[in-house]
């Protein structure tokens, strides 16, 4: 590398000619680094947990107890086994209670990995144990102590059991995928499970049989399992289990992460696109400035090759330095993302892999090749004669070619980020359509605004005329800004408005609590308890869990069942005489008396997915017992109603012989009133309920709502952070495109001032120009955001559409403020440099 090239680059930088090229590149790399580092570390953190995820070499999972045949086979193969059962249940101590994640484990648990426990709350000393709690003991997550206001050594009640809290769990090998927010862990011995009376028919329990042993035996077992599973695949009366292997779990999660990472990176791509646009414009201006330099260098005897080499060295240095700075900034930015996501993730984050570094570095290189190089490609071909004849034409790479090179670079990056050509194409097409729509609307606005100028004051006329005159540039600025602002408004709107609107649309008598798992024998007493407190409930529904087996005598294949997300597994079944409030019959008829042959009503969407029609006879299996019923009606269900809702409802009597547990919703206070409060006061009946009926589950809907709100908050905050970086890229585009017309503006304003215009008029005209640009950008952004939110509201959340005036205000005000401030900042030289100096500089 020649030192002169480095010197030249340094001097260009010192002269401020590289600021924009470098800033745009730094920003693009920052966005991509932050996003990919974040995604990578979270992914690796979670995947690392999965390698110990099973606490065994192999596991079987199912919704009902693992059949003996599976254990016998394991014993035959000399595999060690350990059973676990996980479910949610209320645990309480004195007046406090918590809906905990209970796990009952056999003494041999865990077979692989260790449970990390600590005898003191500060976790000063951590012991790693290879066995679970003994009978009579409960090991709990430290946060449960606060939740129940107890200390280590105190007693807690789990169902009908009283257990002593003997250890605090710091980590357990198969704690799951790390997405927190669920109840605190309470680990008990499997020996105590029966006495707790927590598990009854219809309870939602996940059973696991863990296995460990030598590799051959494990392989044999897995093969035996697959074979058995295949043989039974048509027989839906026998329980089906899933075989869990570390590789399988990793693969499945890996796919989820690929999608998540692709999503984040694609939102980052908008930033890269805008930064690329800014770079292309800035590089064009830089190349213009280099023209004289190159012509001189060539007149002094530098050959084409050495100019090309010099260009290559300079661009490489720009790429190297900017990418390094971008990576460093991205490293900081990813900590902000992690901070936002902290409550959502419950994993130890390992150091990132090589991938984010490669992604970031290549983004830098591709940006330079795709956006900066084409604008400068012609430089080595500049004729040395240009030193004498400045009017000599320069053969620039055509705008069309540059556009295609830029699009190709973007396409490469997008494909790489998303890992799919189809996604990349769809994404880019969608983005360009969005741009085109924005541009068309913007053009109409500009026409309108141009007309306005005719009757405005002199600087307003000047400013608005400028917008129209440089409409090409105006459009670039507008589109870049409007789309970014639009996305930011959508995300902000979702965060600040959607949940509140959903809550506001709930009727006053919306239930506040759900009661689950109430035993047949307890229903009357619970009713009495609620009446004592003068609390209203919705109807009580008996609930059993069962699955669909045959349609009109024909076995339903698992594939067909899988077409319907709602019915693919065991579902909750109920029976009732009255059509539930928030349901509507769409076809067929509801029974008004108990029919002779059992009938059932199905939710319309799942019926369509499954392809069943009115009059079809469907066979169900509940706990291995089969029965038939006729489909007599299809319903729509308002899932937002917060009432107990069911896909399948039978006519009374159909489920009588299956011991059900009962479910209802209680109206105890105003759910809406409590919105936003982190610590809602617990309804008084809840304490009584959990003490008198320890196996019942009380679910506070405010809890659920605040958890949803928390998740939405964090996700949108993370996105906002990325979009703010993208907005900064939008600002770059504004800067760069003002740069394109900078000399022209400098000259025009110098002439205007020479002709007697005051500084005030020029400042006024520029302010009007940028403010109008900001206004139109803000307006387009708000309209676009409102449209997107309309679809989110009506299609995703199934709410009534609502206007968001505050969003419009935010969009327009921030559009005007941002663009005016940035525009004037970039134009300050135009205003401040004395006219004579401007003219001399441009001579």
């Amino acid at each position: 590398m020649s030192l002169v090239d480095v010197k030249l680059l340094y001097r260009d930088w010192r002269g401020g000619q590289l600021n924009l090229v470098i800033s745009a590149l730094v920003l693009a790399v920052t966005v991509v680094t932050a996003v990919s580092l974040f995604a990578d570390r979270v992914e690796r953190g979670i995947l690392q947990q999965i390698s110990q995820f099973l606490a065994s070499d192999l596991a079987i999972r199912g919704g009902i107890e693992i059949d003996d045949a599976y254990r016998i086979k394991a014993e035959e193969l000399n595999l060690e086994t350990a059973n676990t059962a996980s479910f949610r249940s209320m645990v309480f101590a004195d007046d406090n209670n918590h809906l905990a994640a209970v796990k009952a484990v056999e003494s041999s648990y865990p077979l692989r990995g260790l449970i990390e426990v600590t005898p003191d709350i500060n976790a000063a000393q951590v012991d790693a144990l290879s066995n679970g709690p003994a009978s009579g003991e409960a090991w709990v997550e430290p946060r449960l102590l606060n939740l129940l206001d107890i200390s280590l050594g105190d007693e807690i009640e789990v169902g009908y059991l009283t257990l002593k809290v003997t250890r605090l769990i710091v980590n357990e090998p198969d704690r799951g995928t790390g997405f927190g927010g669920a109840g605190a862990r309470v680990m008990i011995s499997e020996l105590d499970l029966a006495d707790s009376k927590l598990i009854r028919p219809g309870s939602r329990v996940t059973y696991r049989m863990l296995m460990a042993g030598d590799e051959d035996a494990i392989t044999q077992y897995a093969e035996w399992f697959e074979q058995k599973d295949k043989e039974q695949s048509e027989d839906l009366t026998v329980p089906h289990y899933r075989l869990l292997t570390p590789q399988g779990a990793e693969q499945q999660l890996g796919e989820t992460f690929d999608r998540g990472r692709a999503f984040l990176l694609l939102s980052g791509t908008i930033g890269v696109l805008l930064a690329g646009l800014a770079m292309a414009l800035a590089a064009h201006r830089y190349a213009n400035r280099l023209t004289d330099q190159v012509a001189l260098m060539k007149a002094w005897g530098q050959g084409r090759g050495s100019v090309r080499r010099s260009q290559f060295i300079r661009l490489s240095l720009i790429a190297l330095v900017s990418t390094s700075i971008g990576i460093a900034l991205g490293w900081f930015a990813h900590y902000l993302l992690l901070e936002v996501a902290k409550g959502l993730l419950n994993v130890e984050l390992p150091a990132p892999s090589w991938r984010p570094w490669i992604v970031a570095s290549l983004t830098g290189v591709i940006c330079v090749l795709g956006f900066a190089l084409p604008a400068m490609w012609h430089l080595p071909a500049i004729a040395p004669l240009k030193v004498l004849r400045r009017d000599l034409p320069t053969s620039l790479v055509s705008q069309g070619s540059r556009l295609w090179i830029g699009i190709t670079a973007l396409f490469l990056l997008t494909t790489w980020y998303s890992g799919s050509v189809v996604t990349a194409v769809l994404f880019l097409v969608a983005l360009f359509v969005l741009f085109a729509v924005c541009a068309l609307i913007a053009l109409q606005f500009l026409r309108l605004v141009k007309g306005l100028g005719a009757w405005q004051g002199s600087y307003a006329r000047l400013g608005l005329a400028n917008l129209w005159r440089r409409r090409g540039q105006t459009m670039v600025q507008l589109v870049g800004f409007a789309t970014t602002l639009m996305l930011l408004l959508v995300v902000t709107g979702m965060r600040t408005n959607l949940i509140a609107e959903w809550e506001a649309q709930l009727p006053d008598d919306t239930p506040s609590h759900f009661l689950f798992n109430v035993a047949d024998s307890e229903v009357q007493q619970v009713r009495a308890l609620l009446e004592e407190d003068k609390l209203q409930t919705t109807e009580w529904y008996p609930m059993v869990r069962g699955r669909l087996v045959e349609i009109n005598g024909e076995t339903i294949s698992r594939e067909r069942l899988a077409q319907s997300g709602g019915l693919a597994r065991e579902v909750n079944l109920t029976q009732t005489m009255n059509l539930p409030e928030s349901n509507k019959i769409l076809s067929g008829s509801w029974w008004n008396e108990v029919p002779e042959f059992p009938e059932f009503s199905m939710e319309e969407e799942v019926a369509t997915e499954l392809g069943v029609n009115l009059g079809d006879i469907i066979t169900y299996s509940v706990g291995g017992l089969k029965f038939e019923a006729k489909l007599s009606s299809l319903r729509s269900v308002n899932w937002q109603s917060m009432n107990p809702n069911f896909y399948i409802i039978f006519s009374p009597g159909a489920l009588d012989k299956y011991a059900p547990n009962w479910v209802t919703a209680v109206k105890a206070g105003d759910l809406v009133r409590n919105k936003g409060d982190e610590l809602t006061k617990q309804a008084p009946f809840v304490g009584k309920m959990v003490q008198q009926f320890p196996t019942a589950i009380v679910l506070e809907l405010t809890d659920v709502v605040s958890r949803i709100r928390d998740v939405i908050n964090r996700v949108t905050q993370g996105l906002e952070l990325i979009l703010l970086l993208v907005l900064a890229c939008g600002a770059m585009v504004l800067f760069a495109s003002i740069g394109v017309s900078f000399d022209e503006r400098l000259r025009e304003n110098a002439i205007l001032r020479t002709l007697g215009s005051s500084k005030k008029i020029i400042l006024g005209a520029l302010t009007v120009e940028y403010a109008a640009l900001g206004f139109v950008s803000g307006l387009i952004a708000s309209a676009g955001a409102e449209t997107i939110l309309y679809f989110v509201q009506t299609r995703v959340f199934e709410l009534d559409a609502q206007l968001h005036p505050s969003l419009w205000l935010l969009g327009i005000v921030s559009g005007i403020a941002l663009i005016t401030a940035l525009g004037l900042l970039r134009s300050r030289e135009i205003i401040s440099v004395p006219p004579l100096e401007s003219l001399r500089r441009l001579a």
Binding site: Q17, A299, W300
Partner: protein
Amino acid sequence: MSETILRVDSVTKSVKTADQELTILRDVSFDLNSSESLAIVGPSGAGKSTLLGLLAGLDEPTSGEIWLGDSKITDLDEEGRAKVRADMVGFVFQTFQLLGSLTALENVALPMELAGQRNAQDRASEYLSKVGLGERLTHYPKQLSGGEQQRVAVARAFACSPKLLFADEPTGNLDQATGAKVSDLLFELNEQSQTTLILVTHEQRLADRCQRVITIDGGRMTNDSAVPVADQSQRAIA
């Protein structure tokens, strides 16, 4: 006896426009000895600058031959001509052609740095002192007056010790007094360094200071005079 450093033989330059071929220079021939000074004069659009570009190897003639020293540059491609320029040629331009992002010192040092000279900065500093700008080394072009900028350009041209110095209207952008100072400097340094000077000008006083004057009019060489004849020159620049 001084040797011939520039030989021009029947040089013609035509360009194609949309509908016709335009001949800018027609059949120009002359020789120039080293250390001589030559002024090319003529009315605007006569083809003076085109001739300068051809002589300096910045452009190719349509026909004819040009020798710079021992190199027949009309047989060379652009890369070959670039080498010859690197070895022999320096420039001073009407518009100064200083790079705005470089200080005076850096502007002067740049061509030497590009040529790989080790003591570029020292030499640049020395030549800036010679043109009276020793105190302004770190000033940028925009901080200098027009005359000062052209003095930097003159320092830049001589610091490389070119055998031939081409100056295109070196005082064209300056007022009379400043122009006179710059031309004093130009001839002074030319004298000191024994450079062959070829300048294009339409300023009679500047042309008068050259040992030889060639007049171009309508693309033809209409006069070649070792001692300029006043009335001929007057006619030439009318």
